[in-house]
Symmetry: C2
């Protein structure tokens, strides 16, 4: 969907001061509201702030802005974050406010967690790190909070994958300051149980598909989900029913029952391997794949990743849910999630983040790259 707010070609973009402290800059980035499909003004401001920096090459792709150093370093790393947010509350939870004092001070408002802090950290690093120890690509992209067809990172991966080439990527999604590596893949299938319809007063004339589904549920209950060690992290697989439907009327023996099953699989498996496994589990039933998104290896065995973990000195765990890191993995770029903010507060009406987390995240990445 094109943005109803066209990029402001005629009026000058808002100004972002990249020399301000990261908390001030985060507030300024939040206050340039950028609900999905309305990222134009923020993308303009980001582009305008980065263009004058001669150590960076800046390109624009829709409302996605990419900036990169080209120092010929042995390694290239990529930092990425999305510019958009979910809609504001009513009344609007913007402009941001600050609440509390000292270690308890928080920034309150839409984007303070998901993920304008990560955007501000990137902008600070992009401004200050004129000669980073690794070449860096900064990707600030549009439309992460909506259907994947609009996703700016997906568009780049499809249209110009060379822009995303790197040895390692960090997605600055909120992780409460921990490192969450890679992600599991997710496969959704429908398992069909056939039957023969009949009047429920004379069930012996039919074959009850819901009763037949007992065997499918039995296999799910008995399933022994594996824990798989990949690149230094343990991923907990899961095979779970997420839906079941059967029956057309209160007096009819149903001739069909469908169990929808979600398989979350470790990133050592391809989508094809995952699908083959599920077909095997439900041997004897018709299995239809509804969607299948690959996982992402954390790549924590790579030098750039090891240096990242060492420099940060924060807890490292697996990412159990699916995230945009999988888009990097598909390009053979291992990736982790690391960013300020408690993910449980993302999208909430009371979105807020301790300001020290912005400072800490910037400092951690600076230790790694400076």
């Amino acid at each position: 969907m094109p943005s109803p707010t066209a990029p402001s070609a005629s009026s000058p973009p808002a100004t972002l001061d990249l020399t301000a402290d990261v908390v001030t800059l985060t507030a300024a980035v939040c206050d340039l509201a950028s609900v999905s499909h309305e990222e134009g003004p923020l993308a303009d401001a980001v582009e305008a702030a980065l263009r004058p920096l001669t150590h960076l090459t800046v390109t624009r792709h829709g409302n996605t802005v990419v900036a990169r150093t080209d120092l010929g370093r042995a390694e290239r790393v990529l930092l990425a974050g999305h510019l958009d947010t979910v809609p504001l509350t009513d009344p609007p939870n913007l402009p941001t406010t600050r609440r509390g004092e000292g270690a308890h001070e928080v920034l309150v408002g839409r984007g303070s967690v998901d993920m304008k802090g990560g955007v501000a950290v990137q902008l600070r690093l992009a401004h200050d790190l004129v000669e980073p120890n690794r070449d860096v690509t900064y990707v600030l992209y549009e439309a992460e909070e909506v259907d994947g067809e609009f996703n700016g990172l997906a568009h780049l991966a499809a249209d110009d994958p060379a822009v995303l080439a790197a040895d390692f990527a960090v997605l600055l999604e909120p992780t409460d300051g921990a490192v969450e590596g890679g992600c599991k893949g997710t496969l959704r299938v429908d398992v069909e149980v056939p039957g023969v319809a009949a009047h429920s007063a004379r069930p012996w004339n039919g074959d009850n598909a819901i009763h037949g589904a007992a065997a499918v549920l039995g296999r799910l209950v008995a399933y022994d989900a594996r824990t798989v060690h990949v690149d230094g992290l343990d991923y907990h697989e899961a095979l779970q029913a997420v839906g079941i439907t059967g029956g057309i009327a209160g007096n009819v023996i149903p001739d069909r029952c469908t169990v929808t099953v979600n398989y979350r699989y470790a990133p050592d498996k391809s989508p094809e391997q995952a699908a083959a496994h599920v077909v095997e589990v439900f041997d004897g039933f018709a299995v239809t794949v509804r969607d299948n998104a690959p996982g992402a290896r954390p790549g924590l065995d790579r030098p750039a990743a090891q240096a990242f973990v060492e420099a940060l000195g924060v807890p490292v765990g697996p990412k159990e849910g699916w995230t945009d890191v999988a888009r990097f993995s598909a390009l053979d770029v291992p990736a982790v999630n690391f960013g300020p903010g408690d993910p449980n507060l993302a999208h909430t009406d009371d979105e807020h983040c301790p300001v020290h987390q912005y400072v800490d995240a910037e400092a951690a990445l600076r230790r790694w790259l400076a």
Copy 2:
């Protein structure tokens, strides 16, 4: 819903010749189309044909017509049939036509099976049996083919149950010429399986209600349905899932799964006993009764019923589905189904009936009552 066709107070009713042979009369009754809620003209014609018969007392209740002898016999029996039909086909399957010859001759059109033949048989008997060997109540009622709230028999049972008092009742629904005694009761319950919602990438934070439903389905599969002998007939009970729902999204562990179960129970049980049994079967789960209609005993041990079966000399079996005979049973009137027409052709586009079945049914009932 009141009929859009008001009873024709101003124009004279159509004429039904009760001295015509039963096949001719059936065709005439069919040709007075009477889709549910539009029974007025047919009820008018029936009333007009019966009123002049001095051996009958005729009353009218909405579009339901009741006629009765009052000879002071030791027994009273009741014959009943509904006046309405399901909608006509497009183009209309009326007026009726006759097809074939001799033993293969059939009457074709809406109502030929369900159940204008049974209405015509009653009208012939009501006309001819001036001094039947048992007192007879003839009930020709409206709105059987629609929601129970409109059912003319149910209205009589609620408003004026004395009208339906009898030692035995015959419902002239199509049974292909057999006697089907009583009917099973039908109970529908929802069995709720609780769970705890979680993201499907982290199912260990939740409790999958669909997986929990495996235990419910297991009990259904293992259930040993009884065959129960009641008043000389064997009723086959059944406990069957007729619906199952669970799941709200492809990435959420469901916190609820509902299995809808239909229990068809022999008429030796009250609705309360049936409900208690199902609650016991699903001990440990919440069971909510959605509806519960009692069955009907066939009463084939009563003298009037035994005389009926002997006089007819046709096969006698249990009625497995629920029918309006249960409304008689609720008034302590045992009842059977017996009528011309193959029930599998009821409501079909090609509704038709061998004409000899009308003749045979009239002759059989005449043997019993003359």
